[in-house]
């Protein structure tokens, strides 16, 4: 690689930082898309039931799983719903019966199942839903906006984003173990950007089945449905007990923090990875201003940060791996170290405070009580499921550099494609 052009070397560096080629990982290296990585991980997790309904781009996952089941590689009950609402209901029932259940969707499909999310998390069913984000209609682009999965953020599910196929593979295993922990018992949304992750293959190191089995023991769900011992599932309570049930659901969500910490560190020690349980910091050690991001565009953003650093800009990148539970204190510690924070939103919340996206609302709340606050602004980018180009990240970098120097920004939210032309 000595004679390779500088940007090729940088690319390699970014891939190593992303854990894709980390030397300490052992296993078979495969060339997988995000969906392929999820399918391989689900096969190794030995899921019992998968319920499907087709919608691009996530649907490739179900194609792969059904092929695995048809070839006899995976002992799987594969059920096809008549819509996403039924699809989630099937997964709910399977999980209530103690099966390791899997479902998934994209874009408008995620929305069609809206009613069923709260009953599943209220019933504490630890099933997993693989989401390949898709822009909502209109225009319903094949590409990725996070508004679909983020719209379910108040429904009591663990919600986290990967940024490489390798991370999708690892998250699939980690999410099941976190959600199935007796201190948590919550459903998990394992999100990846549609197309950018779901359909672009990258190198994924796949460990052995024995290693996965040791990391992820079979699910033990208490009071699983059983004809021999009939039970009333689906919170059989009175409205007068509603606040108690909701408090216990909050406690399960907040109780997930130490479990996430424990599980991710255990994963790191077993598989030689270096994931931070909650938040990845890229080149933040001496940074004065940072991009805050979630999901697959972080991959491009890392190259942009590298290029901007070459020009002497003190920029870094903070990537949250979780949206629910939101790592409040953890992020407050990190973000207050900088002079300016720019939240890269690949979602929209029409009429939100400061007309920013959903993540900025969370970041602003995180920082509100902090004694020393950075300047905060939002970058509305990747809307319509478009890519965020390097030059657009450079523009964000310039805005942040200016904000750090002045202590203020001109706008509360910069709409990429309007101000940067």
């Amino acid at each position: 690689m000595a004679n390779a052009p500088e940007d090729v070397k940088l690319k390699r560096q970014a891939e190593e930082d992303a854990g894709a080629l980390a030397d300490s990982r052992t296993g078979t290296t495969k060339f997988l898309t995000g969906l392929g990585a999820a399918a391989h991980a689900l096969k190794m997790a030995d899921i019992d039931v998968a319920s499907s309904y087709p919608i691009r781009p996530y649907t490739g996952l179900m194609m792969m799983l059904s092929m695995m089941a048809a070839r006899g590689e995976l002992d799987l009950e594969f059920v096809h719903g008549e819509g996403e609402h039924a699809q989630l209901g099937i997964a709910h029932g399977a999980s209530s019966a103690g099966a390791r259940a899997l479902t998934g969707s994209s874009g408008v499909g995620v929305m069609y199942a809206m009613e069923v999310y709260s009953p599943i998390s209220g019933g504490r069913c630890p099933l997993q839903m693989v989401i390949a984000d898709r822009t909502l209609d209109p225009p319903g682009d094949f590409g990725s906006e996070h508004t679909d999965a983020l719209s379910t953020r108040d429904q009591g599910w663990l919600l986290g984003w990967a940024h490489t196929p390798q991370e999708v593979f690892d998250n699939t295993l980690m999410f099941y173990r976190i959600g199935e922990d007796p201190r948590v018992y919550l459903p998990q949304m394992n999100c990846q950007d549609g197309y950018f992750l779901s359909h672009i293959p990258m190198k994924v190191v796949v460990p052995t089945q024995e290693e996965v089995d040791a990391f992820l023991p079979p699910l033990q769900f208490p009071d699983a449905l059983d004809p021999e011992n009939p039970l009333g599932h689906g919170p059989q309570l009175f409205p007068g007990q509603g606040h108690i049930l909701e408090a216990s659901r909050v406690n399960a969500m907040m109780g997930a923090f130490p479990v996430i910490d424990e599980v991710v560190n255990d994963f790191n020690s077993r598989f030689g990875t270096s994931y931070d349980p909650f938040v990845e910091q890229y080149k933040c050690a001496d940074a004065e201003y940072v991009l805050f991001i979630s999901g697959g565009h972080a991959y491009t953003a890392k190259f942009a940060v590298d290029h901007m650093r070459e020009k002497g800009m003190k920029i870094g990148l903070v990537r949250t791996r979780w949206v629910r539970p939101w790592p409040t204190d953890y992020l407050a510690d990190i973000l207050t170290k900088f002079k300016a924070v720019g939240v890269v939103e690949t979602n929209n919340s029409f009429g939100a405070a400061r007309q920013c996206g959903i993540l900025t609302l969370e970041v602003a709340t995180t920082l509100y009580q902090a004694p020393k606050k950075p300047v905060l602004t939002a970058f509305m980018a990747g809307l319509g499921g478009e890519v965020i180009r390097l030059d657009e990240f450079y523009y964000m970098g310039d805005v942040l550099k200016d904000a750090a120097a002045k202590g203020s920004t001109e706008r509360t939210a910069y709409w990429i494609g309007f101000h940067n032309v």
Binding site: G234, Q236, L237, P258
Partner: protein, 130 residues
């Protein structure tokens, strides 16, 4: 880590505790299951006129919750009022109009909507002073 996020958890007093995920035992036929009584949903109570009743048992089949019982050695119709939600399907099914719907609060033991059937201990304590 654990201590740090402790401030966000809500302490639930033991007397207010509920079963995990609100999972309860299933009601058994004509049996009791004290955690999910549904009689408190009733606005109208079914009352059968034994003089008119011809014991065709259409109401037994019509009840979606199996709360119409055969009492008095199988010679009369009765109701399990712990679970009767007052839907009125028995009234509708009766061919001789022997079942009437009487406002719940006309009865001395009438149940105000979702109140008396389930009182949490701490709520009960609030009422005790009156």
């Amino acid at each position: 880590m654990k201590e740090r996020y402790k401030k966000y958890t809500i302490e639930i007093p033991e007397e207010m505790s509920i079963p995990f995920a609100g999972i309860v035992e299933s009601p058994k036929p004509n049996g009791e299951q004290p955690l999910m009584l549904t009689g408190g949903w009733r606005i109208y109570r079914p009352v059968v006129d034994s003089e008119k009743c011809v014991m065709c048992k259409s109401c037994v089949l019509a009840c979606p919750d199996a709360t119409v019982l055969l009492v008095d050695g199988g010679n009369k119709i009765g109701f399990n009022l712990d679970y009767c939600k007052g839907c009125g399907l028995c009234t509708w099914a009766c061919p001789v109009n022997a079942i009437d719907r009487v406002p719940e609060l006309d009865f001395e033991d009438g149940v105000p909507f979702q109140d008396a059937l389930f009182l949490l201990p701490h709520v009960e304590a609030l009422y005790a002073d009156d």
